[in-house]
């Protein structure tokens, strides 16, 4: 979100960014004011929590019950965030000073509950900036229809074209999601109700969102229904910002016609278990490409010469380099869009969260290969890497996808700025708010109407049949009487 915050502040808006004291991601900037708040955990505890998730992924085989493991991880993570949020909401002096500032709009990623609760408390219109919320709580809150017949659910690994058994499983997952959602967001619901002193749910609060800025488009997501206040800003993070350093430029050019491969597993994973890392080194030793790898773990003595390990990679600049041949990634949406933007085929190693689903979207388009990190071997990696590099179809399809993604009238950043400013100018976007917000689930799906119509139909049939039988009997009796006479 930082790119949007900086752009807004450069266009003359006064931005205040609330940052937890203990954060792994956001830093300070000269362009906006940051206000930090205390959280009841240390950075070590936060990292331990994240490490637990990671280690789980590397060491346990993927299985059907992973969804519950994923859920458990997510709940541990969100519980921590709820605590952080409490730290902010109940920091009375900070909240008082914020309330007195008089903001025009609140910008947040609703994956975490704090922004949404503050927007309600301050009666501020909210603009959401997100990839999505688990169990499609975002779509439910926006009243967006999402037919399970062609919109695959989280963790199913289905594409938008499903067989009958897949549709059955997708429908069951839809039902399961409802109860998972309930558990996952119970702490959000409780905090919101307690702090706002009214009986509410997190979903209900989310429904007040003025505009949803969605970090996806249909070069990545499967085409699905949208609501009028959903705006796609996919690719907002993608821009070839600057040239590489001299050292990097020399390294990647040294690969000659073979080009090079970029390898990162995202901002949260820069180490691997030693045995796992060895498989990567062994595979890289056998390819003619050079490899740039964001890796801070132990290095074997005879590490191949074509691999350059770095603590941090200028990922976007590297993917934009003409010599790049492939991108080995965990499949986070950020990296995926940098890959699509620059048209680089991928080898994907999904780790957790939505990454497994992200990967399926690209594999189904023929622009990526996927491997499981759990049972990864150098052979498997080699096969996949050679495939995406040497089989021309991956590059061709990716180039086409990239062209479609970049063929737009307005840059996503400008679109995000426009809609944020629109909400400020008009104090929301009431004209985009569907009346569905005033319906409950039964009403929304017209189940009450269908029930009522069936009841009438059954009554009419019943009365008709009974009347006919009555008439028939009367007629029959008369006939019998006559016969007797």
């Amino acid at each position: 979100m930082k790119i949007l915050v900086e752009e807004l502040s450069q266009r003359g808006h006064e931005m205040v960014v609330l940052v937890p004291e203990t954060s792994v991601l956001i830093g300070k900037s000269g362009n906006y004011t940051t206000k930090s708040f205390r959280v009841p955990y240390t950075l070590a505890e936060l990292n331990a929590n994240l490490d637990h998730i990671k280690n789980n992924t590397f060491e346990n085989p993927p299985k059907l019950t992973d969804i519950f493991g994923n859920l458990g991880n997510l709940m541990r993570f969100t519980d921590m965030q709820v605590k952080a949020c409490e730290g902010l909401l109940y920091d009375e002096s900070l909240m008082k000073s914020l309330r007195e500032t008089g903001f025009d709009v609140l910008l947040t990623d609703p994956f975490l509950p704090c922004g949404t609760i503050i927007a309600d408390s301050f009666s501020l219109p909210a603009v959401y900036f997100l990839r999505g919320i688990p169990c499609r709580l975002d779509e439910a809150a926006a009243q967006c229809p999402s037919p399970p017949s062609f919109v695959p659910r989280l963790f199913t690994g289905f594409s938008d074209k499903m067989t009958f058994p897949q549709r059955v499983r997708n429908t069951l997952m839809t039902v399961l999601e409802k109860s998972l959602c309930h558990q996952l967001f119970a702490s959000f619901d409780e905090l919101a109700s307690r702090y706002l002193q009214k009986d509410t749910t997190y979903k209900e609060l989310l429904g007040n969102c003025a505009v949803w800025l969605l970090r996806y488009d249909f070069t990545f997501e499967f085409p699905k229904p949208q609501m009028p206040n959903m705006v796609q800003i996919a690719g907002i993070n993608c821009a070839k910002k600057g040239p590489l350093t001299k050292e990097l430029e020399e390294f990647v050019n040294g690969s000659g016609e073979h080009g090079f491969v970029v390898f990162t597993l995202g901002s949260m994973v820069s180490q691997l278990p030693e045995a796992k890392a060895r498989e990567f080194f062994e595979a890289f030793r056998q390819i003619p490409q050079r490899v740039l790898w964001r890796y801070t773990g132990p290095v074997p003595e005879n590490a191949p010469k074509n691999v350059k390990l770095m603590k941090w990679l200028p990922q976007n600049d590297l993917l934009g380099h003409p010599k790049v041949k492939a991108f080995i990634t965990h499949g986070g949406s950020h990296g995926i869009y940098e890959g699509i933007c620059h048209g680089v085929p991928m080898v994907m190693l999904p780790l957790f969260g939505d990454q497994g689903d992200n990967v399926h979207r690209l594999v189904s388009r023929g622009v990526a290969e996927t491997l499981s990190i759990y049972d990864l071997t150098s052979e498997k990696l080699l096969v996949a890497l050679r495939k995406v590099i040497n089989d021309k179809s991956y590059k061709e399809k990716m180039t086409e996808l990239s062209a479609i993604h970049r063929d737009r009238l307005i840059e996503p950043l400008d679109l995000a700025v426009f809609w944020t400013e629109f909400v400020m100018r008009h104090k929301g976007a009431a004209h985009l708010r569907p009346a569905a917000h005033e319906l409950n689930w039964i009403q929304y799906h017209s189940l009450d109407v269908i029930g009522f119509l069936i009841l009438i139909l059954v009554t009419v049939i019943f009365v008709t049949v009974k009347s006919c039988m009555f008439c028939f009997r009367k007629f029959f009796k008369k006939t019998q009487k006559k016969k007797k006479e």
Copy 2:
């Protein structure tokens, strides 16, 4: 659509426009090539058909069965269009020359079937430019969900906020629509199947549309789900093009602070029955505003001086004039958007087609009053006119609506050009096509899945109950035996 065709041709595209010899609307232009084709009716017959629709409206009271009357009118009109279309499709030399030209895209309003059939026949990607197709065939063809719980149906006059009885009627209308659609488009289906020599329906052909350019937005329509390939270009017709003629400028300025009223009933209605016209003249006599009226009918001797009758009005320029106070209109979407664009409150006299529904959308926003043309009296007209002119709330709400409508990053014309060119560049917009196109109605709504799950549930319950009863009986028998012993 002319504005888009002219813009495309100015941007260097070669445009060929197919025009029936007998047309009431489109003219020739230096900017594009027109090719005309024979139609099996005369202009007089076409006008007689339209007159029938009009007279019906002026002389019969509105009633519940109007929907069938409307349908009848529509069917007479579309039957004529189907004949026109046959004239084109079976004009072999014209079709041959078109086929040999090698087009990149076909642009059409799918309200009429010809363009869609040609697109299929020539294997051309199609861009549709439309306000809508009766019985929401456009939404059905685009696979767009349209929950009857908050999307009001045609001819119901409901807003998006419905009571339970209204939702019941709306749902029934949804069912009725299906059968109406079937009748209304039977001739389209037949022509398409016959000409393309395959078993198809018009809806199926429509589903191949690459991009839907929709002449509405949510300052007018109620917020509802959209599909990824739907693009809103509302207001494409609205631009203050030029100043008024000296004569007109003098007339409207002569009204002083009271301003003036613009009155037209659309391009198809420039006359009224004499008695009806008298009511208008009498009402206008009693207002301080001047009135510009597009009217070619008989004029009473003592016609009021503040009324200027004209054969043709520069409607958009007049509505953009600072002294305009109100717009009396039949509620066609074209005029409505000119009114919204310039922020002019309206008095609406819906005549036929979608106009009744259009009117409800503006009335529910508090920016217009509506009257029935059938029982219109000068008193009723006066009350409505004075209300929208003197009650400040109409102007205020309309100004707000206008500001929201015009607050956009891209002009609708540029958007329409972009998407047309996008389809030309990428030979369609396959990435926006939902997989729902491969599902039938039952699959789309997961009725097969729900049926299957219910079957399983019932079976499980049945088996469980039977087993329990079996065990219970066995146990019961044993106990009885023991007792006997």
